[in-house]
Structure formats: C-alpha cells, structure tokens
C-alpha cells in the first residue's frame, strides 16, 4: 500500500508527504506521516483485543529489553567490572551481547530499514538512511571485532541509537497530536458516520451518503452530522465548531440544527435539509484539509534544504572517516564518522513549520476563524497595511434611523403610520423603520392597498386616506407638496451621506403633502473603533476603501478613527488602489464582508472576510472570520505573528542545533549514543517550542465595549435573529 502524498496523517493531521506509509490498525486502513505517528496512534488506539497496537508494543518492549540488557552489560564492561580476575568471562559476555544485539537490531531497525528501502527505490535518500547506515555499521563492525582478541564491541551503540530514535519519534508524534487537537473536530466531517433511520431500521452510514430529507438519529454527546430540522426530541446544542462561540443553545421540535454542533443532553431525530457533503461543516473540513495539505513557502525551502542535507552528510561522514582513520585507530575513526551520521539526521527541520502551522490554524479555528490557505498566517504576520471595506465590514451593513424631521405632526404618528406601510416592503430601510417603531413601543397602523413603485417608494391607504413614502421625486410625481423646511433638512442630511425618505399623507380627501423627512445611516460597528486602535498599536497602517460616496465614507472613517480613506471606488479601482499600496508598503491585507468585494480580497496578499455566508468553495478570502468577528482581527494578527516567529525560532533551533552538534561530531567530541540522544532532544525541543503557542492567551472582547455591547444586544435582538435566520437559509441552500 502506498499512500497518496496529499493525504493527512491519521495521527497528527499533518500532510503524509513522501515519507508516509500505510498500515492497518484495528482492521482499518490508516495513513501515517512517519514511523513515530504510527507508534503513537497504535499506542493510543490500542484498546481492541489482540490489536496490531499490542503487537507493536510487544516489539517495542522486547526491543527495549534487549537493548537495555546490552547497555547494562556494556556499561559494566566499560566500567571495568570484568577486569582482573573475571577477565576470562569476557568472551562469553561478548557472545551474550551479540546474541542480544542481533534480534534487537532486527526488531528496532526494521521500520527504519523499510523506510530507507522504499525511498531508495524512488531514488531518494532520507534521514532514515543515515540511522540505518550508522547502526548497521556499528553492528557489523562489532560482529567482526568479536573474532579479534581485545577488540571493542559497539553493540550498545547499534541498539541504543535505534532505541533512542524510536523513542524520539514517538515523543515527537505524541507532541504533534497534541498540536492538532483543535483541528480534530473540524476534520471529523469526512470520517463521521450518521445513524440513518429508515422505517424501523437504523443504519450507520458515512455522512457523504446522506441526502436531503433523510431522518437521522443523534444521541446525546454525539456530533450532529448534517444540517437539518428537529423532528422529534429536545436538547441543547453547542455550535462552537461552526460559530466559534461555545455556548448552549436550546433546541426543540422544528428548530434548525447545524452540522458539526454537539448534541448535549437529549436524543434527537433530525430531518436532513441538504446532502451530507454540502453542509458548512463539510465545507470547512475540506477547506482546512486543503490548507493543511499544501506546504507554505518557508516549509518548502526547509524541505529542499533537508533534501540536500542527507547526501552532504554522507559525504561528510566519509571524509571524517578518512581523516581520522589516518590519525586514530580505525574503530575510533569509525565511531566519529558514526556520530556524524547520527547527529546530522535533520528530523527537526522538517517539523519546524508544519507543527506551528497546524497549531495556529487549530487555535484560530477554535474561535471560529478559518484559515484557507497555508501561507495566509505567514503573509499576515508580514503585513504592514490593512485596507478595510466599509459597508458590512466596519459598519453594520444595515441602515438605522438617525433623524426624523416632521412638519406639523408628531414623530410618533409618523413612525406608526410609516411602519404600517413599510411592513409590505422588503427594502433594507423598512427593517430600520420597523425597528425604530418597535423600540419606541408603537403599534404600526395597518395600511391597505399597498403598491410598491420600484426605485421610487411605496403608497397605500390608511383609514381611507392615501399615504406614500419615498424620494423627493416620488412626492413630485404624486403632485404632493414638499415643505421647504423638510427639503432643506433633507439636502443637508443627504450631503453628509445619509439616505433620506419623505413620508406624507392626505387629510380630509385633500391632496397629500410630505409631512416628514427621515434620515437613515449605516452605523459603524461598536467594536470598529477599538479594533482599528488595536491594529494601529500593532504597528499596522489602516486605510478605508469604499465604493460608497465620499460623504458616507468620510463620516465612517472619522467615527472609527481611520485617517486615510478613498471613496467611490468601483471594484477595478479598488484593485488598482491595492496595487498602489502594495508598491509602497509591501504585503497588504484586505478586509471585506466577502459578498461584494471578492475581487479585492483575491487581489490582496491576505484576503480576510468577516462573517462570510457565501459558499466556502467559492470564497476568495484566505482567512474567514466568524459573523460579528471583526474584533478578533488584532488577536488573529498577533497569533499569525506568533506562529511566524515560532517557525523561525524552530528553524534556527533545528539548524543551529544540527550544525553545532555536527561540528562536535566531526571533531570527535560526541559519542554516537549521546549523538542519538541529542537528536531526539532536538526534535523534542522543536515540539515543545511549538507547543508554547498553546499557552498564548485567547482573544478578549474589548472591555470598553462590553457594557455597551450588552445594551446593544438587548435592543437589537430581533434583528440579530433575523440575520442569523438569513445565514441559516444561506447555509442550507446548496449553491
């Protein structure tokens, strides 16, 4: 079995790569990126009877038994325990050592030998080749030396090198699995099984086989495998995987549930609303898998270096052997060369970037931020300038009533009548009016015979009298009078970027006239200002690129504290502006809502979409923040920088460690066993250094906003619910 190189390791979720191999564990075909992951996975999953895992542990245990005994006797021999009178037992001890070492080398060395062989057939040399060559040379030399009186034996070197590398790989794999802990629920979508109910029968089937309309049973504690509606049962669910917000949501019959959320406390029967492979969860899963599968630029460079390393080390070992062979006894020269082989095994370099990456991606994912391209984090860390789109990104994207100017009537009357009329409209302003009426506790006055005049406004009848709302032009068309006080105010508001609606009615069958001018504004998000401040304190330049007219852009820019802005930009112009910025500031990021500014997001070095509800497969952003997740942006930037500095530190460590150790080895200052321990230590260092990322703090909502946000949430609850319902509808529609 040869695995696909683009598959992910079953254990640590890193790409399998060319070193990967396949094994059957508990009757299931698994792919692993390295020998260590194979061990660690089997140790972890070794609960089955007579599983391969058990056999594997048996091998490991017997291998340790043999090599520990070899080490023990060898140490005793070195320490001179058999000197003097006990000298005559030495040949027997040597024979015993050989008897122990032969099976030990076979048992412990087989996986390394197999890897070397498989790779060699493809014409590649890997670090395993170094280990195999080193330990076999020590073994062969010692076997020959047994026939020479007084010859030194290095069976302990042969077996301990193999033992230490096995141990090192195991520890490394255990650490990597920990790094991918946050990713596991995201990647589960592809391997998840759903309990499909057909009549009285229940069947476990892969999620991708689930079609719309099927009934699925979900027990408490299980993950809900598909989007759907609850048909039976009630429970709480946790939608953290999808929304990034871990909280319990009560669900009853008829409620919509999201694939990927966890059913917390009651059995549920769900009718699937779409194919299993189409849920947002499945899309997230595919997208994360793609991001993990490709290697970033840094990693590609590191891999290329490692590829070149192995032949160089072989040559270096040969040179060392020749050099020291002329000055020292052969066996010492050989030991030195052996140390060179063992110490130059560049395992840690290959680990430097992927582990920090998957940790970073996993942590962002836990807070609902989705990384879609492998280089996104590194690119974001190097970004000096962030450009924002306005509508829906820095603003709510929903207009809000900010001003009512009335002429001879009360504001409340205006709103009550207008709300009744606008009930029949789907226009964005209609929601704003309904909200305003609701906040003031007004009952809408029912309107009849409502007609919508596209692009103008709408008209209807209230208590037998005509009412109309719309633009100034609409009022003129109706032949209604427009009081000058209203039109002056309206011009003022329009010039500062507000949308204005006139509203009027007729009285006592006379011709109607406009009685109020209402101004609407797209309000900036409450967290926008704090976010921009935080970004600026991270040393980033912030700019606003808006397609809206200058007045609106200027006001929003002033409110949120952006000094630089450009307005009235068509998508093409936005792109040109980004290119201009790029030539001045290097890498740039663009933040948008993912709906209107796809081209801009695609053109920036890092495209960031906030609360994107579009189909992920068509999403052009490299990074997708959750709905209402703008405030996470500074944290994401900080995290990206941490990931990049961890990768650089890892590379510095790994290369530095290797080079120093290599120098020591070439100079003959390092024993082979110590060299093997040093190498295992280097992998471990890289793993531990990467795991430090885990300890960085999570995002915290700007404290200055917490109290105002609570008030806002209370007043805006209905709207938010509407918004969420709209998102659900989008999620469910397979596009």
């Amino acid at each position: 079995m040869t695995p696909r190189p683009d598959a992910l390791c079953r254990h640590c979720l890193l790409p399998v790569g060319r070193r990967g191999f396949a094994r059957t564990v508990n009757g299931e075909g698994c792919q692993f990126c390295c020998y260590g992951c194979c061990i660690a996975h089997q140790v972890k999953s070794g609960s089955g009877d007579a599983s391969e895992a058990a056999w594997f542990l048996v091998r490991l245990g017997v291998g340790s038994f043999l090599s520990m005994n070899i080490m023990l006797f060898s140490l005793l021999v070195y320490a001179g325990a058999f000197a003097g009178a006990d000298r005559r037992v030495l040949p027997t001890i040597q024979l015993l050592l050989w008897g122990l070492a032969t099976p030990a080398v076979v048992i412990l060395g087989e996986p390394f030998l197999r890897e070397t062989w498989v790779q060699a057939r493809h014409g590649r040399l890997t670090s395993s080749a170094l280990i195999v060559l080193g330990s076999l040379a020590a073994y062969a030399y010692s076997t020959l030396a047994m026939f020479q009186p007084g010859g030194h034996l290095y069976f302990d070197t042969a077996s301990m090198v193999l033992m230490l590398f096995t141990l090192g790989r195991y520890l490394e794999a255990a650490g990597r699995a920990r790094a991918s802990r946050d990713l596991a629920p995201l990647l589960a979508a592809e391997s998840e099984l759903a309990t499909v109910v057909e009549g009285v029968q229940e069947q476990r089937r892969p999620v991708r086989e689930v079609r719309a309309g099927m009934l699925i049973r979900v027990m408490p504690g299980e993950r809900i495998p598909v989007d759907g509606l609850i048909v039976e049962g009630r429970s709480h669910t946790d939608e953290a995987v999808i929304t990034g917000e871990s909280r319990q949501v009560a669900k009853g019959i008829g409620a919509a549930v999201l694939a990927g959320s966890i059913n917390l406390d009651g059995p549920l029967l769900i009718r699937s609303s779409g194919a299993g492979g189409e849920s947002r969860w499945a899309q997230i899963c595919r997208s994360v898998r793609d991001a993990l599968r490709q290697s970033s630029r840094t990693q590609r460079i590191a891999d290329r270096l490692v590829g070149a390393f192995v032949p160089i080390v072989l040559a270096l070992a040969a040179l060392t052997l020749v050099y020291w062979g002329q000055r020292l006894p052969l066996e010492q020269a050989m030991l030195t060369a052996l140390s060179v082989l063992v110490v130059a095994c560049p395992c840690a370099v290959g680990l430097a970037a992927p582990m920090a990456h998957s940790l970073g991606i996993g942590q962002l994912a836990r807070h609902g931020c989705l990384v879609r391209s492998p280089g996104a984090l590194e690119a974001l860390a190097g970004t000096r300038l962030i450009a924002f789109d306005k509508t829906g990104t820095l603003t709510l994207g929903r207009p809000k009533l900010v001003d009512v100017t009335s002429d001879g009537v009360g504001e409340e009357e205006v709103l009550a009548r207008l709300a009744g009329l606008e009930r029949h409209s789907e226009h964005g302003l209609a929601h704003a009016i309904a909200m305003a009426a609701m906040v003031r506790g007004l009952d809408p006055i029912v309107a009849e015979d409502v007609q919508i005049v596209p692009g103008r406004g709408l008209r209807g009848v209230v208590h037998g009298e005509a009412v109309a709302a719309g633009s100034a032009a609409f009022m003129y068309e109706l032949g209604w009078q427009l009081p000058s006080a209203l039109s002056v105010r309206a011009e003022e508001m329009a010039s500062s970027g507000h949308s204005v609606v006139f509203f009027g009615w007729s009285e006592n069958a006379s011709a109607g006239r406009a009685r109020a001018a209402l101004s609407f504004d797209d309000t900036p998000l409450p967290e926008a200002g704090a976010t921009i401040d935080a970004l600026r304190s991270l040393g980033l330049r912030v700019t606003l690129l808006s397609g809206d007219h200058a007045g609106a852009a200027a006001r929003v820019a002033a409110t949120v504290g952006v000094d630089e802005w450009q307005a009235g930009l068509l998508p093409e112009a936005k792109r040109a502006a980004l290119d201009r910025y790029r030539s001045h500031h290097g890498a740039i990021a663009m933040v948008g809502d993912g709906l209107n500014d796809g081209p801009g997001l695609a053109c920036a070095d890092v495209g960031i979409a906030v609360g994107s509800a579009t189909d992920l497969a068509r999403e052009t952003a490299d990074l997708v923040l959750p709905v209402d997740g703008l405030w996470l942006l500074p944290w994401v930037v900080g995290r990206a920088r941490a990931v990049r500095s961890t990768i650089l530190a890892n590379l510095a460590w790994a290369f530095g460690y290797n080079l120093i150790a290599l120098t020591c080895a070439v100079l003959g200052l390092l024993q082979p066993i110590l060299a093997a321990a040093v190498m295992a230590g280097s992998s471990l260092l890289v793993v531990l250094n990467s795991l430090r990322l885990e300890r960085l703090p999570g995002p915290s909502y700007p404290s200055s906003l917490q109290s105002s946000a609570a008030a806002q949430a209370a007043s805006e609850l209905p709207l938010r619910e509407q918004g969420q319902r709209r998102e659900l509808a989008l999620l469910k529609a397979p596009s």
Binding site: D49, A50, A53, L57, V58, R59, V62, L75
Partner: protein, 243 residues
C-alpha cells in the same frame, strides 16, 4: 551485605505497595490456558522484564553518579558503598540530593498524598491505558514486553531506589542496588498471580508503611553520608546497626 539485605527488605515490603498498581497488572496477566507451567513462565517473564528495566535504570543512575564524580576529577570508590572511608565534595552533594529525594518519597508512603500524586501522575495514565492491551495478547513475548514497560511506570518506590543507586557512584553497585530491590519485589509479585486478592487491605497498608520506613532509613543514611562531617565508616556503621 547488610546494605543489600536492607534493599531486599525494602523491595519486599515495598511490593505490598506495588500490589496497588502493578499487582493489578499481575492479576490481569492471569492464568495461561495451557496450564500451570505456562502460567508460571508467563509471570516469571513479566517479572524478568521488570527486573531488566530496574537494573538498567540502576546501571544508568550508578553510571551517571560515577561519571559526575570522575568528571569532577575525583576518583570513584569502587566496591561496596558505605564502607568506603572517605567521601569527596561531589559525592557528598550527590548523596545529599539522593537522600533528600528518598526522604520525600518515603514521606509520601506515610500519607503525604500531594507528593504521591505528583510523582505517580506524571505521564502515567497514557502508558497504563496503552499497556492494558498487552495483557490479553497471547504468546511469551507479550508478558516480557509488558514487564519491561511496566518497569518504566512512574512509582515513588522505584524513584527512591534509583536515587539510591545514583548515590553509589558506581555502575556495578547501581545495577546491584536495583537488582536486589527488584528481586525483593519478586515474591509478592509472583504470588499476586494467585493469592493477591486474599491479602487483607490492612496487611497491605502496614506493608506500605514498612516500606516507607525502610526507604526513610536508607534516605537518612544516604543524607548523613553527605552531611555528617568526616563521615567515615565509623559513624555510618553506627547508624547501620540502628537501621
């Protein structure tokens, strides 16, 4: 010889402590369906594996002690520990450290649970879980492998003994220290296959206390080697007889 006898006794008494964790394993290893002979082979192999690990740890610890002393330019004292006349500074420092470690471990046997938990929870649970699968695997290799890995399970008793082995500053003595201790645990652990369940918990408790006492004594002696000025064989012999 008194020294090794004390170690053996510590191992023997300590194996009542082992019954808690490792004894469970020994019971789990159970009987071989092929008869009593195969069963005893199974248990001997398991204990041999354990002994091998202990010896290895002892050798390493002893070697480490020896290496530290000789790298400080000091000649190590070969032969029986304790009875050597003089100790140098490096050995003294090591002896103090080892002694303190042993005393701390011993106190954990007398009910200082915090320490006990700190020493036994470290990385143990994963290993224990994965080891369970070995218990049911047929063949002779499995119990041996099981014993070897079992030997690495975190255990305050073993830690204390390893500290003792390190303070001998000698490879052979380190190995022997752990070997004798391991042999001391043999009788109880071998018996566990059969009569483990019959032993009253009260007995076990007093066994654990006894083991704690032995380790405390060993720890105090080791500590005194480092602390007591001019610690020749004289003062030690004195302590020896008290122990």
């Amino acid at each position: 010889m008194t020294y090794y006898a004390l170690l053996f006794l510590a191992g023997f008494a300590g194996s009542f402590h082992c019954i808690g964790m490792c004894g469970g394993f020994a019971c789990g290893l159970g009987a071989d369906p092929r008869g009593a002979r195969a069963t005893s082979v199974r248990h001997v192999l398991y204990n041999t594996g354990r002994l091998a690990t202990y010896c290895f740890l002892g050798t390493l610890a002893g070697g480490l002690g020896q290496a530290i002393c000789s790298s400080l330019g000091l000649r190590s004292n070969q032969g029986t520990p304790f009875l050597s006349a003089s100790l140098d500074v490096g050995q003294r420092a090591l002896a103090v450290m080892a002694g303190l470690l042993m005393i701390i471990m011993a106190l954990s046997f007398f009910g200082l649970r915090g320490w006990h938990r700190a020493t036994s929870s470290f990385g143990g649970s994963t290993l224990v879980n994965s080891l369970r699968s070995l218990l049911r695997t047929p063949g002779h290799a499995a119990p041996l492998a099981f014993g070897v890995l079992n030997g690495f399970l975190p255990c305050p008793l073993v830690y204390a003994m390893v500290a003792q082995a390190a303070s001998t500053f000698d490879v052979l003595s380190g190995c022997l220290t752990m070997a004798v201790f391991g042999l001391g645990t043999f009788p109880a652990m071998l018996a566990m296959g059969g009569l483990g369940r019959l032993l009253a918990p009260r007995w076990r408790q007093s066994g654990v206390r006894l083991a704690g006492g032995f380790i405390l004594a060993l720890g105090l002696i080791t500590l005194s080697r480092g602390v007591v000025p001019m610690a020749g064989g004289h003062g030690l012999h004195h302590l020896w007889h008290i122990a």
